[in-house]
């Protein structure tokens, strides 16, 4: 149980920080913010890699492969489409 307490601290602080940082994003950019958030939620790819890279070919490894796939769709798709939108806002 003690193992989880530092994580709970991290989580709580990160939520406060998240509200602080995200509330500064102007309304104009809320759609790219959402697609960017999509990409960031793909961070779970890190966990997916650890599962898919196990030595033995078992259920966990196959599940890991699907998780890598879904998370990569988000990472690649999310960052690319967000960049596409920001490019539109930048040009004059």
């Amino acid at each position: 149980m003690e193992l989880y307490l530092p994580l709970l601290f991290t989580f709580t602080l990160a939520v406060f920080l998240g509200f602080e940082v995200i509330s500064k994003v102007p309304t104009t950019l809320h759609t790219p913010l959402m697609s960017g958030a999509n990409a960031i939620s793909g961070i779970t790819v890190v966990g997916a890699i650890l599962c898919a890279g196990q030595p033995d070919n078992n259920l966990a490894k196959w599940l890991g492969m699907f998780a890598v796939m879904f998370a990569t769709v988000n990472v690649v798709g999310g960052f690319l489409v967000t960049d596409r939108m920001f490019k539109m806002f930048k040009r004059k």
């Binding site: 509200f19 994003v25 960017g36 998370a71 960049d83």
Partner: protein
Amino acid sequence: MSDALIQIAYLASVCCFIVGLKKLSGPKTARTGNALASLAMLIAIVAALLDHQVVSFPMIIAGFILGGVAGAIFALKVEMTAMPQMVALFNGFGGIASAIVALSDFATPRPEGVEGIVFASALAIGISVVIGAVTLTGSLVAFGKLQGLVNSAPITYSFQKLGNALLFLAIVALFIPFCGEGHPGWAIVVMMLLSLGLGILLVIPIGGADMPVVISLLNSYSGLAACATGFVLNNQLLIIAGSMVGAAGIILTVLMCDAMNRSLTNVIFGAFGAADSTGAASGEQRSVTKYSVEDAMMTLENASQVVIVPGYGLAVARAQHITHELGQMLEKRGITVKYAIHPVAGRMPGHMNVLLAEADVPYEQLIEMDTINPEFEYTDVVLVLGANDVINPAARTEGSPISGMPILDVDRARTVMICKRSLSPGFAGIDNELFYDEKTMMLFGDAKKTITDLVETLRNGS
């Protein structure tokens, strides 16, 4: 690479994420911010690949290729009008990826000497699977409604709320066997199946017009699922990045609810669109004055400030580009042109801004509701294109379904020009007094055609 080095790489990644997100505070730095966030993700992926636990690569590479190609195709092909659907779909993918990672961790045999699953890790696995599964099916239903694959009208039936509440309680109850002795696998499988069902049932009663709230909320869930997975894997990076997404989703959800003057509970359980549309047909026939394109042109040419109010109808008609052309022609005549953006003008937060940016409208001309409202008094002409409820003065009076909803005060301007197909009411199903006001010029017809005619007339007239 040693564990300590990997942790330091994760820390570097966290820093890049936060600085990247901070740079989203302005359109000028936003693109760099996004690039920084991508760099953060790259650092995290490389660090994970170098982890000593990772010894077999074929499955990882297969996942990268399949996911990467699909993601790139989505991102490069998607139309800006279809962004809400794409975000909905990606919310679902993020959620299910996190749930699968938690499941996979559960299925991983623990090596000798390593502590097995304890109460707290079982709890984290359960939460991750439940949130991830609800996010997946909820997002798929939202995607289907936005894409027009399923009827976007709210689906309601008797004992709906009770049924959903019971289903939710059943899921919660399953935590008891799952977190208890032995951590049976069946419990997590049943939990996941019930959660997949709950996701569908929670979103079907919500109408198409309320989808911006639903997408924002699911956006938040996809982040929380990643957070829960961070607890499962004892990984701080997942927790921090997931919290950022969770916070973003919550902020947007609250903003959207405020813009519609409705509570979150009301949006989720209210089944708005299903309400009877009383007041839509008040019976009495009133006359409106129809104006021609020439009348409109003369009024526009004599104005010194024109504010354009774009609605979703404009985007559907793909008329942003021609509207921008009209705006530029007016500017050439020395007229100040601004665009008033209501928070719920599109199908997701900030959607209208993206659609106008796509048509090269400079973002300086896109003015938020609170900033533009005091300016209407000094505005000569307001040109309303495919918007209705967001300009309905009925919101200021008691007893209307939209009472209290923040609106654009277009009726304070000298002349209000409304391009509309007919007098039909908007989503809220209520009549708009403004149509019958004597300072209102109704231009009936397809918005795109009307604007095109205006542009032609202006071009020939000068």
